[in-house]
Amino acid sequence: MKLLARLAWRSIWRNRRRTLLTTLAIAFGIGLIVITRGLQEGSFAQMIDVAVRRSPGHIQVHARGYWEKKDLAHTFPMAAVDTAGLVRIPGVAHVSPKLLVDALVAVGEDNSTGAQVVGVIPSLEQAMTVFGDSGIMEAGRFLMDGDTTDAVIGTTMARNLHAHVGDELVLFTQARDGSVAAALVRVRGIFHVGEPDMDGYLVMANLALMQNILVAPGRASIIALTVKDVRDVDRVRAGIERLLATRGGSARWEVMTYRQLLPELMQAVGFKRASSAIFLTLLLVVIAFGILDTILMSVMERFHEFGLMMALGMRGRAIAAMVFIEGLLLAVIGLAVGNAIGWGVNAWWQRHPVRLGGVAEAVESVGFQPVLAALPDLGQQATWSVVVLCMTLAVALWPAVVAARFRPAEAIQQA
């Protein structure tokens, strides 16, 4: 085997130009895949980041059943979750507990509309979401932790209700015990997120105020978390589940990641991933024929050599193995080069995002950042490398078999 490997290594360097071309084809293939996927994952990461920062977070902890019912019956005492423990889980960036309820809101006696009122701890919510961005408030300001009789609403709702900063806003809903819940708050600010559901339907108030009027002291509907690196989300989720294991475990809690929290977005991303996988596979097939060609050619050119080896007692199987190993070596070199370049480009592109020119405004208006940035992902690279490797080996199979079938006498004569 060692001998075969050495022979194969020598063989591939006998025709440097061919080897160079083959490895380049492989390197080009894997490099293109890595860069394409990196860019795509970069844009997905951006989309997800924008969506996540609009409020849901990367991970949410709920009482079991909340996600299906979304009602006050499925709130939980915040003391039951070790909130301080959540913050300490490695990889967690921010934690924000919230209490959500559907309500009627009104300005004056005759302007009213349905709304989702979210009770938050303003400083935590701002640290985690888009509400911490400067420029998010169109008028007034966001809540502060001490603002217990205030609320912020979206631009569309403000327009519909003819509400202005400083106006009195009535919140009316049903408390956790079924009683009538009402609160009178002051519009402290008007935000514009660019998401119609939020600008037209969302009201934010202080968590303590909402707990009070909903007869839900110390309770929350969800604890939202963000992670420092989106690729760690499953590890962090596992950490949270470990923390909750001693507090009722999965019978009592549901821990969801943005993949479950943002199903439509994830579906769109999944569709794009699948279609790009198909496209890249087709690209690989084209490259595969190129590789097949060069390896097959190299075998055909070496009739004489193989014939001689066989005449000297080498078995057909060993010849086949040698050709196969040549393919493997070419693949490994090509993959190494392609991965290195691909990773380098992605890493550079991640640090130096390209600003979009003409379409920037259109992209920005729907709430996305008008930049192209890649996301290097070694896992992706490994997966595609295995695909390319298998493909190269599969392609080398035919030339190997051809080489093994030579009859020594004929082969020598032919040359």
Partner: protein, 252 residues
């Protein structure tokens, strides 16, 4: 109250006119409706709402003027909700919230939401549901809880502003008082059932004093609302300023 009381009271009123004997389903509904016009009623009721998570009973006083399509309801108990009021003028509805001393209009988009936490919707309270919105057919007679009953099918007319796909009413053959109403949605799915019981004389008329509404959709399993009429009078004049927005804020 229309949706609840109307159906039954309409039919209840029908008894008086039934001397000529029951004719068709439409006749029954029509006579009842004619008699219902101009009715003023006033009374006290108790509403018990049961959900899988809590159970609450509210006592309230109500005034209704069905001729002008007006209604006023004031919560008397429990103490936390006391003073909460609901005013309906035609197709509009206001709520008064005593804890913050403010009243607000219920927007059209919230009409299908719960009325005072019950399984009734605001729409049930506000909708002027008339027998004219439906085509009625007499289907059968049957026996319910040991009482003979007509089975009447009501299908909304094409342009009727009605949320149901079909209503099946079981009305006693003896006096046309309803025993049960099954509400179907547009897909023909049975979505809620109202049962009437505890028939007794009140304010000079025989009425069912207990109404039990059970939603039958999966998402509201374990919910039910029961209304019990504690007392009721008919055709006594009601002060005109009862049905005003100013009255909402008049603490009681």
């Amino acid at each position: 109250m229309r949706a609840i009381l109307a159906a039954s009271l309409l039919l209840a009123a029908g008894t008086i006119a039934s001397a000529a004997g029951p004719l068709t389903a439409v006749d029954v509904m029509q006579r009842a409706d004619a008699l219902m016009r101009g009715t003023m009623s006033e009374g006290e009721m108790e509403m018990t709402v049961v959900t899988p998570d809590w159970r609450r009973t509210m006592r309230m006083r109500f005034w209704e003027d069905s001729r002008d399509d007006r209604m006023f309801v004031r919560v008397l108990a429990p103490a936390k909700d006391r003073g909460t009021a609901s005013l309906k003028l035609g197709n509009e509805m206001w709520m008064y919230l005593p804890s913050i001393e403010r009243s607000m209009k219920i927007p059209p988009s919230m009409m299908m939401q719960s009325w005072l936490g019950s399984d009734l919707t605001n729409d049930d309270i506000v909708k002027e549901s008339s027998y004219k919105d439906y085509d009625h057919t007499f289907l059968d007679t049957t026996v319910i809880d040991g009482q003979r009953a007509y089975v009447i099918q009501s299908i909304p007319k094409p342009d009727a502003p009605v949320v149901w796909g079909k209503i099946i009413t079981y009305a006693r053959t003896s006096d046309y008082l309803p025993l049960r109403q099954d509400y179907y949605d547009d897909d023909g799915q049975l979505v809620r059932r109202m049962t009437y019981s505890d028939f007794r004389r009140m304010g000079g008329r025989t009425i069912p004093a207990t109404y039990r509404l059970v939603p039958l959709t999966a998402d509201r399993r374990g919910h039910e609302t029961t209304l019990r009429i504690l007392s009721m009078t008919f055709d006594r004049p009601i002060p005109g300023d009862t049905f005003t927005r100013a009255n909402l804020e008049r603490a009681r």
